[in-house]
């Protein structure tokens, strides 16, 4: 008796939790073929997981970008906005220009598409992508840092900060100033004093 009940319950469950899907194949709205629907039903447990929801992002200069939710939630900021229910229309990003936003989306897409764990080939491919990604002019690089910080994308922030750090490594102060167009605001006496005093601090 109990077993019968269970099986009935399960059957009912499968129909109940299907999204309201018109079953007739002739439905004009969705244009799915009969075979596609059959596939959908047979793949019930798996297809419900892949949501094809898209998020619209609006840059500071008014341009809109439509991305998959999976790509958008690479950014913790956007993820929290979605969770808080602010993503019904479009998400405005006033601190990011369209040029930078397109680059950021490209980065997120690549990182979402690549299944990280297993293959070495995929890992190397991702590394070379990252290396090429940061081969941009300094201004874009700093914009990317600011955008990654605002959107809270840890991997992108680490990548860009490491790139800038690599530009600083191994250079003398004068070379660093030249690379980043920094003005030397120390007087020569100040500098000399600091050099003498702080010698001990640097082993």
């Amino acid at each position: 008796m109990l077993k019968n009940l269970n099986s009935k319950h399960i059957q009912r469950f499968s129909y109940k939790y299907l999204p309201q899907f018109p079953i007739s194949p002739n439905s004009p709205k969705l244009g799915f073929s009969r075979s596609q629907i059959a596939n959908y039903r047979s793949n019930f447990p798996t297809t419900i997981m892949s949501s094809s929801k898209t998020i619209v992002l609006r840059s500071s200069d008014g341009e809109t970008f439509e991305v998959d939710e999976a790509v958008a939630v690479e950014s913790q900021t956007i993820k929290h906005m979605i969770e808080d229910g602010c993503a019904d229309t479009s998400i405005p990003l006033p601190n990011v220009t369209s040029k930078i936003l397109s680059k950021v989306i490209e980065y997120c897409k690549k990182h979402v598409e690549t299944p990280n764990a297993d293959e070495k080939v995929a890992e190397e491919d991702l590394k070379s992508f990252d290396a090429d990604f940061v081969k941009v002019d300094q201004s874009t690089l700093f914009d990317l840092i600011l955008a990654a910080n605002y959107l809270n994308i840890k991997s992108l922030l680490d990548l860009t900060c490491q790139t800038v750090a690599d530009m600083i490594k191994g250079k003398t102060p004068e070379e660093i100033r030249k690379t980043f167009n920094i003005k030397n605001d120390f007087t020569p006496e100040e500098e000399e004093e600091v050099r003498r005093e702080n010698a001990w601090a640097f082993e």
Partner: protein, 280 residues
């Protein structure tokens, strides 16, 4: 920047209420200056200490109050007008004490105004991002960066305080630095120390841990051990030549050199029973 506005909108009403309540608890703005003036004029020498104390205690409260105002006011409006328009009551006091205002709390430790003055994109980054970039460097790179500019120097100090002081320098790197020929263009931190190089070749000597005192002699006696320690499996599966009962207790004694072996009475009885193959 984007974070300030939603907070503003939401908490305006609640903060207004708070402010009205707060104004009952603390001095009203400008009243402190009045107090100071009246007290200063009344008594010069003796009561100055008291006034100072009073000022400090009330000043703290006032600053708290003021800082609450500061964060609420939008950037465009002048702070004074916004502040006084919301407090219930003393607009007159404000007018009177216009000239005798108490000092304002600084709004921001790193005011954003300075950032627009920098030519370099690197320097115009917010301080925390600058520190983040520096944390990707190695310890020996810090010295060069220290001498670049004032703002970068601040970042180096912060990075050192919060990160480098708690991170082990890469020792293998430092060994390479000791052995490789220095380039004329590169900056070498060990230049000043000539003799120190040979010492730094190996890992730095850690301070020696204090030696333990002499251990007290083991309380376990051989005769007792024979009673407690018994051969558990006496089957012939174990080759008798491997089992030397007389020696085993001795080796066990050695491993038991520590005086931490403590037996409760019951355990002792149990062990004895097991040794004698009698279990109650």
């Amino acid at each position: 920047m984007g974070k300030v506005s939603p907070k503003e909108k939401m908490s305006k009403t609640s903060k207004q209420k708070k402010r009205i309540h707060a104004s009952n608890k603390y001095l009203k703005p400008g009243a402190l200056a009045q107090l100071r003036n009246s007290k200063a004029s009344a008594s010069n020498g003796k009561k100055k200490a008291d006034v100072m104390d009073a000022e400090n205690s009330q000043g703290v409260a006032l600053f708290q109050n003021e800082s609450a105002y500061e964060y609420d006011s939008p950037v465009i409006l002048s702070p004074e007008k916004f502040r006084y328009s919301n407090v219930a009551g003393p607009l007159d006091v404000h007018k009177e004490n216009n000239l005798q205002r108490t000092p304002k709390t600084p709004r921001d430790p790193f005011p954003e105004v300075d950032r627009s003055d920098y030519e370099s994109r690197l320097e115009s980054l917010p301080m925390e991002l600058l520190v983040k970039i520096l944390c990707h460097l190695h310890h020996d790179h810090l010295r060069a960066v220290f001498h670049v500019s004032e703002r970068v120097r601040k970042a180096v100090v912060i990075a050192r305080q919060f990160y480098f002081n708690y991170t082990t320098p890469d020792r293998s790197r430092q060994e390479i630095l000791c052995t490789a020929t220095p380039q004329p263009t590169e900056q070498w931190p060990f230049v000043s120390k000539g003799e120190g190089k040979s010492k730094d070749f190996k890992l730095p000597i850690t301070p020696k841990a204090p030696r333990h005192g002499p251990r007290p002699p083991s309380r376990l006696k051989l005769t007792e051990m024979r009673q407690i320690a018994a051969v558990l499996f006496q089957e012939s599966a174990f080759h008798p030549s491997y089992i030397v009962p007389s020696l085993i207790p001795k080796t066990i004694c050695k491993s038991f050199a520590s005086n931490r072996v403590l037996f409760y009475d019951e355990e002792l009885e149990l062990c004895q029973a097991v040794a004698q193959n009698k279990l109650l």
